[in-house]
């Protein structure tokens, strides 16, 4: 079942002094972060701290202006296409086509990931089951679905790709209990299959049940890091401005 093609213990995400500019604004201002295979990392921090940009960077969607950035063993300043194929990114947009049905969307994204007919069908079936989507719901066009149903459809369209790295931006926001449970089971399933998960979320209690490592981001740098396993505090590599804070934790 495991789909990753690198040795255990190798960093999936390895950022040193990463700077990302949105226009002229440094959304990430020299961020350091190292994530190992199979970890579940919760990114927390105030709005505008750079959490979403960090996820975009890890997906290979934005180019670092400075720093060293390696994801899944690839240097993102050079090779991003290979990384992109192996990550799944959930953002505020669902990435679905409104006029197609949920089933058609999931199928399209499976085929777009390069899967053949039969492979696409079987993977779609298992993703649909995992997220609790039934046939009645699958045959409706996306514009006739509720926000929670769309989110689950969107996650299913990502799950068919069996990514090595999940990047989830506020996956629980605006969902009912069914939806939240579906997200949690998806994350557990991904981790048990050997994938790595980065979740940016404000819903700490929800994500804590997955016993993640908690990384706090503020002003484009990491200011606090609970370390692997979620228990111990380890000093984060941050500029002087931040070290005082990290020690307080």
């Amino acid at each position: 079942m495991s789909v990753h093609r690198y040795r255990d213990g190798v960093s999936v995400v390895e950022l040193r002094g990463a700077v990302v500019l949105l226009g002229r604004f440094p959304a990430l201002a020299g961020l350091d972060l190292s994530v190992d295979v199979g970890e579940t990392v919760l990114l927390q921090g105030p709005n505008g701290a750079g959490k979403t940009t960090l996820l975009m960077l890890c997906a290979g969607l934005v180019r670092p202006a400075d720093g060293e950035v390696r994801v899944l063993g690839h240097d993102l300043t050079v090779e991003r296409r290979e990384v992109r194929r192996r990550v799944a990114l959930l953002r505020h947009g669902t990435g679905l086509y409104e006029d197609l049905t949920a089933a058609e969307n999931i199928r399209f994204w499976a085929r777009a990931a390069g899967l053949g007919e039969s492979e696409a069908t079987s993977r779609a079936a298992s993703a649909v089951g995992l997220l609790g989507l039934d046939d009645r719901l699958l045959s409706r066009p996306v514009h006739a679905l509720s926000a929670g149903q769309r989110r689950r459809t969107s996650l299913a369209s990502l799950a068919v790709r069996r990514p090595d790295l999940w990047l989830l931006d506020e996956p629980h926001a605006g969902l009912d209990q069914v939806g939240r449970d579906a997200v949690d089971s998806l994350i557990r399933d991904a981790v048990s299959a050997g994938a790595t998960v980065l979740v940016a979320s404000h819903e700490l209690e929800r994500v804590r049940s997955l016993s993640p490592r908690v990384v706090t981001v503020a002003a484009g740098v990491v200011v606090r890091d609970s370390g692997r396993g979620g228990g111990t505090t380890r000093p984060a590599c941050t500029p002087e401005a931040a070290t005082g804070e990290a020690a307080d934790a």
């Binding site: 226009g23 604004f25 921090g45 404000h202 706090t216 503020a218 484009g220 401005a241």
Partner: protein
């Protein structure tokens, strides 16, 4: 060398600027005083005909037209350079060439129209190949400059602009072909000089026009490049300061509160 440091001038550019200004003065002298008007005598009727003094627009219009095309070709070449090398130097060069080229192109259209009125008896001639090609080129590069003025990540913009410049210049032969076949007529001299009563001095003045407007274009290009380079440098400087500002945000008291419990809503 004045040693002033608050301008985009340098010793070289000042020399260039002064020669361009002197050149314009000399060119005016040649174009208006030393050369004769175009007056030809009909071999049988003895009637006088020709462009008379309107021919003096030749020394202005033709060099600028050639320089327009040169500037746009430079722009396309620099755009290719940018797409290959991806360094700001090429991007700034392409932008500078496009802007200077468009100023020249606009003037070519205006002076051409002014020249056409007395000589062709019309302000505008649909179907004239060079006129229509130049007009389409002008419109294409207005689009290019509009794209340049949209606010977007500078790297995206450089790439988009490079593609637009490339398409624009590749489009030119097609526009030219299509207009040529469209209305098989042109009012432009087949060879500009063949029809005129050519004197050595006319030819010399035209060549002088090429040199002088070439100097003017070079000076404009140099300064436009430096302005573009400064814009980039200023932006980079601004980014360094913005990063410092972001780090300073961490010292502010409200960040600590927000970090402490991040449950401050979506």
């Amino acid at each position: 060398m004045t040693g002033r440091r608050d301008t985009t001038g340098s010793a070289g550019s000042r020399l260039l600027g002064v020669s361009a200004l002197v050149g314009v003065a000399v060119l005016l002298l040649f174009a208006f005083v030393l050369t004769d008007p175009d007056v030809r005598v009909h071999p049988t009727t003895g009637e006088e005909f020709g462009q008379f003094d309107a021919v003096r627009l030749l020394y202005l219009h033709v060099p600028m037209a050639v320089l327009t095309y040169a500037a746009y070709i430079l722009c396309a070449a620099a755009s290719v350079g940018y797409l290959v090398r991806r360094t700001p130097w090429w991007d700034v060069t392409a932008y500078a060439a496009a802007e200077v080229g468009t100023v020249f192109c606009g003037l070519v259209l205006v002076t051409g129209s002014i020249w056409g009125r007395p000589v062709w008896n019309t302000w505008w001639e649909w179907g004239d190949v060079r006129l229509m090609t130049t007009l389409v080129l002008f419109l294409l590069f207005l689009g290019y400059l509009a794209l340049r003025r949209t606010t977007v990540d500078p790297r995206h913009q450089a790439r988009r602009a490079a593609v637009v410049a490339l398409v624009a210049v590749l489009d030119i032969p097609l526009v030219n072909r299509s207009v040529e076949w469209w209305e098989n007529r042109t009012l432009h001299q087949q060879s500009t000089l063949a029809e005129l009563k050519i004197q050595d001095l006319t030819l010399f003045t035209l060549m002088l026009g090429f040199v002088v407007f070439g100097l003017v274009a070079a000076w404009l290009l140099l300064h436009r490049f430096r302005v573009g380079w400064l814009e980039q440098a200023a932006a980079e400087h601004g980014v360094a300061m913005a990063i410092a500002e972001r780090h300073a945000e961490l010292d502010m008291p409200d960040v600590d509160a927000a970090v402490g419990d991040a449950g401050d809503g979506p």
